[in-house]
């Protein structure tokens, strides 16, 4: 992790300071690299002329069971400073859930919800993936984690029948935020049915401290009615092939982040959102109405690559990390800025910010939403 602090002043002095900080950090990192005697260190990859061929750590201390969370919650930041063995217990559960008002869809889940569980490990950890498939499941499933260096991202080793368990292990060689998904054939169907989630591999030195972290994953549903069963829909394969979704949602359902399920923050806090795009088809133009991203780790990489961003592009099967300081109370609106999706198909979520308003940050002076009304 090279970026130590964020400068809000786009001035030449700040730029020089940032460059100096980077230079010092790089020297520090290289010194660390030679001191520990490892080569192909992840931090060396930040230097553009180096392509590391990574090696797992020489020493793994201890083991622990990963704490997994459901969206929009994220496991707490990792505090240990050594590589350990992390056991991930993930169970595939097939169930029918509401994806929109009075619309039920047969989803296949990692851990009981769409999106699936959030996994948080540290660069260098030895991750032991235990994939179970619930006994009443109709089909076998597997898992491909984009963080894995290995055949099929783990998929080949993890095809698991109903009632069974498969195990494989991998070293989290690359830091960053990665999508995982089921890769059993037909892959588009398994993904369209909700089989995706995210794994965060924290860089060795961790991420800068923030006050709130959230997990948001965008995805699409392609549906048509099930003949003779009111309220139940099924996968519309033709719509999937045409890439014309019925729903484009955050966290698995229309309205999953609205009303009492809105995200929360307070004025003065630093917020980080781990955003994924599961697809299966569309990219996302991710924007928060009423805020500007102070830092964006484009494509979920381990370095904040851009500052002061309105809308960031998230690839299908990819991710991004966005960070912003919250300066004003009110309602922020998360959208995919391909705006018909937000307005008509569900690509809309809310963050409710409490705290003291600052008229210098924003003040309505005249008009219908006039000075008498604070931002709500």
């Amino acid at each position: 992790m090279l970026i130590k602090s964020v400068s809000l002043r786009p001035s030449a002095v700040a730029t020089k300071r940032a460059l100096l900080a980077s230079l010092i950090a790089t020297i520090g990192v290289l010194a660390t690299v030679s001191a520990t005697g490892c080569t192909g260190n992840a931090d060396a990859a930040e230097s553009p002329s180096v392509v590391p061929v990574r090696t797992p750590p020489a020493k793994i201390e201890g083991e622990e069971i990963a704490l997994l969370t459901d969206a929009p919650n994220v496991p707490p930041p990792i505090t240990r400073t050594h590589a350990t063995k992390v056991i991930v217990n993930l169970e595939v559960i097939e169930k029918t859930v509401e994806i929109a008002d009075s619309v039920r869809y047969p989803v296949w889940t990692f851990g009981g919800s769409v999106p699936g569980k959030f996994i948080r490990v540290r660069e260098g950890d030895l991750v032991e993936m235990h994939l179970k498939v619930a006994p009443n499941s109709m089909l076998p499933h597997n898992i491909d984690l984009h963080a894995v260096t290995g055949p099929g991202g783990g998929a080949k080793a993890s095809l698991t029948m109903a009632g069974h368990e498969s195990v494989f292990s991998f070293t989290a060689l690359n830091p960053g935020l990665y999508v995982y998904h089921c890769a059993t054939s037909p892959v588009p169907m398994h993904m369209a049915n909700g089989m995706y989630g995210m794994i965060l591999v924290e860089p060795k030195n961790g991420l800068p401290k923030v006050d709130r972290e959230y997990y948001v994953m965008q995805s699409e549903f392609y549906t048509k009615p099930v003949p003779g069963v009111a309220g139940l829909v099924q996968l519309d394969m033709d719509k999937g092939i045409e890439e014309k979704p019925t729903y484009v949602v955050f966290n698995g359902a229309v309205g999953a982040l609205t009303g009492d399920k809105a995200l929360k923050a307070s004025v003065g806090e630093r917020v980080r959102i781990f955003v994924g795009d599961a697809g299966p088809n569309l990219t996302s133009s991710f924007h928060v109405i009423g805020e500007v991203f102070d830092n964006v780790y484009q494509e979920g990489g381990s370095v904040a690559t851009q500052h002061n961003v309105q809308t960031t592009l998230i690839p299908s099967g990819g991710a991004a990390v966005v960070e912003f300081g919250v300066e004003n109370p009110g309602e922020l609106v998360l959208v995919d800025h391909s705006i018909f999706r937000a307005f008509h198909k569900g690509a809309l979520g809310m963050m409710r910010v409490e705290g003291k308003a600052n008229a210098n940050v924003f003040a309505a002076i005249k008009g219908i939403g006039g000075a008498a009304k604070h931002a709500e």
Binding site: L139, G152, L159, H164, P186
Partner: protein, 202 residues
């Protein structure tokens, strides 16, 4: 002449509860189009009552929790056999893909599967091929029909998006689903969503 005709009629009339499937072609999800000789197939899956593993109100539900060995033995004890994968898939393909998908979506395959015989008969006169239970075939683990991870892991890529490579019809999701189910089976697997029906030579 009449005797010959009568003889021919008797010779091709399948045993009770079975239908004749005429010779015909089918296209497997991987490989070349194939010819399947005429054979007889049970109209319905074997029920629990028939299998005598569960009696009472469950008697008309499909027999499940049965290994390949047990299914094979049951058929052979009755002068029949398990259908080959080619035979089973040929008959299954009589139902349009979208209809197969709807059946998988509505009928919950597995322990809560409905009673045998409620499903519509396809144009061969065979019922309940889709959406009730998965069914054993004689050669489910032959490399041509099975892309298991411990058989040809690279071949047919059932565990990856590369499954599309070499597939005869990428729209045939139900065929991919069944291919994936077969890939996970061993001969001594028994699950609550796996039943069988028998076939016979003609």
């Amino acid at each position: 002449m009449l005797a010959a005709a009568l003889f021919a009629l008797i010779a091709v009339t399948p045993p009770a509860g079975m239908v004749k499937i005429p010779a015909g072609a089918y296209v497997p999800i991987y490989g070349q189009p194939a010819q399947v000789a005429a054979f007889a197939l049970d109209r319905m899956p074997v029920t629990r009552g028939e299998f005598q593993s569960v009696v009472g109100e469950d008697a008309r539900r499909p027999a499940v929790g049965i290994t390949w060995f047990e299914a094979k033995q049951y058929c052979e004890a009755r002068g029949k056999r398990l259908p080959t994968t080619a035979e089973w898939e040929r008959v299954a393909s009589a139902t349009p893909i979208h209809e197969q998908m709807s059946l998988y979506a509505t009928r919950r395959i597995g322990a809560n599967a409905g009673t045998v015989g409620r499903g519509e008969r396809n144009r061969f006169g065979v019922a309940d091929l889709h959406g009730l239970v998965w069914e054993w075939t004689l050669d489910f683990d032959a490399p041509a029909h099975n892309a298991s991870h411990h058989a040809h892991a690279e071949h047919n890529g059932v565990s990856c998006a590369s499954a599309a490579i070499g597939a005869t019809n990428t729209n045939n999701y139900p065929a991919f689903l069944r291919n994936a189910v077969r890939a996970g089976l061993e001969r001594n697997t028994a699950t609550a969503s796996l039943g069988f029906r028998c076939a016979a030579n003609l």
